[in-house]
Symmetry: C2
Subunit: 343 residues, 2 copies
Amino acid sequence: MATSAKPAASLNEIRALLRDLPGPDLESGTAAVLRERNLTKPAGALGRLEDATQWLATWQAKHPPAINHPRTAVFAGNHGVAARGVSAYPAAVTQQMVANFIAGGAAVNQLCEAVDGDLRVYEMALDQPTEDFTQGPAMSEEATARAIAYGMMAVEPGVDLLALGEMGIGNSTVAAALCLGLFGGEARDWVGPGTGVDAEGLARKIAVVTEGVARNKPAMTDPFEVLCCVGGNEFAAIVGAILAARLARVPVVLDGFACTAAAAVLFVADRRSLDHCIVGHRSPEPGHTRLLKLLGKEPILDLGMRLGEGSGSTLAIHILKAAIACHTGMATFDEAEVSGRSA
Amino acid sequence: MATSAKPAASLNEIRALLRDLPGPDLESGTAAVLRERNLTKPAGALGRLEDATQWLATWQAKHPPAINHPRTAVFAGNHGVAARGVSAYPAAVTQQMVANFIAGGAAVNQLCEAVDGDLRVYEMALDQPTEDFTQGPAMSEEATARAIAYGMMAVEPGVDLLALGEMGIGNSTVAAALCLGLFGGEARDWVGPGTGVDAEGLARKIAVVTEGVARNKPAMTDPFEVLCCVGGNEFAAIVGAILAARLARVPVVLDGFACTAAAAVLFVADRRSLDHCIVGHRSPEPGHTRLLKLLGKEPILDLGMRLGEGSGSTLAIHILKAAIACHTGMATFDEAEVSGRSA
């Protein structure tokens, strides 16, 4: 690396990481299943809490799993395409909301405090939006690789669960373009109201996504190139955070449509790359459900939230903590002298 | 009352309570809606969290609502019909699980601790199961009224949210009989695997429920009579707890099939009587979804849990607390200097 004039991380180095990801720790997962069977409840009666415990043990590579230091990482970016009138809010809101996160006034601040979590907000050159993807690629390969490397910093020693989120006016349009570039279909399959555009705004989003993906199609030769073409910084950073978490044995909770669309870049590159990720909440944004089906992920919560900023991923931490509390705190049939099933 | 030789509460006195239930506090509910509109998020972006806040304000009759002293009340009862082989577990497990609750080893203990809740377990004459309802009424009117009055004690001063639960081997059979008696249909519409009976056990449950409701049909002249006919103590106590909570302005979180079936007694008596109740979790027991549709209730969580004992209602408290935390802790657009929607 010292002999290279390239930046510290290139897209090829990121691609190389994917070929050597740590796999599941089946021993820890099995230990969770075995203990679960002996706890004072009918087999399987805790439903998805039991699945969550097994998944946490498998991807933390330890039994019992623990969530003592969850972190919510929110990446904020601005998008050239926002100038095309695809959002109900002006682009200045990205920066204003970052200030709100820092001041403690946003939903994610309250939600993070409720799970005893550590909130980190990563502001990514908000005064330098990516290029408008209808005119050409949103980001260079170098800028994309840098943003991915930046996102990797969200995984620091001690963090034992990573909830992801994003903020960026216009980014449900970017997410739709990303999905269209990765999975095909029609723009209208992937475009939704986002923060709440009207019918005219929705038509504009569909036109912009169609135009942007058509314009960049020749360059969309692999999932990372799709990411460069439509952007943006917060999407690339989420890709990096997911990769770094996998390497550090930190399970990941994904949020809504934009966050899951970023994760989909990795899924298309390697289907096993999201096995350490769970989805916290189903967004009413129609593209999210379509995307979740392709990824084979069933969200933990479905509460009609459509806020982003890590709200759904952070809220779901309560359920994961509850799963561990039951797993570690419950008595076994023997300990409690409770009878098992009748013969 | 002093001149009456009757017990302290009669079914007629319970019926009279229903005619004079406190209604919604629309002023507090409206105050919640008005504040919600000014918080730094797109309108409605917190989805069901916003509905929950409004509902809590409406039924606590205060704004902002607060959950500082949630209580989980678990009522345990035994059922004569358990002797008919309708459960995968022997009836002795009811008492053993109560001991487990008291020792702190059950799922609900861990879940209650996680929400900073106060767990109360109400053991209801476990050595005196109700009568087998296939032979006649499970309980006398007096015993039913006494159990309802007993359940009312779960609402003590200071409790600001009540999560309900039950334990009773055989009680998914009782719940099915209760629903069949209240709403009609066929026994197979209401019977499910409960804690996990096999196909033969399921057929036995269907036969027992059909037989029991047919046998008692002539006496099932109103919802409280249906309750007497099929029992049991924990069902009647839940009816009492729901009523007492309404009178004390304490919102209620219902649990799975057995708990919701008990609540349905009140619903059939007066459709407004459950307006202060929300359902914490959807049970995979098929009768629960059928029942929820009739009650017009959409559960907060859907995690495949089928444990009862207040596990689903208690877990949902996290979501209600998070809703209040967002509502009270978030900045308004003005406070945070965040721009509203574009023109």
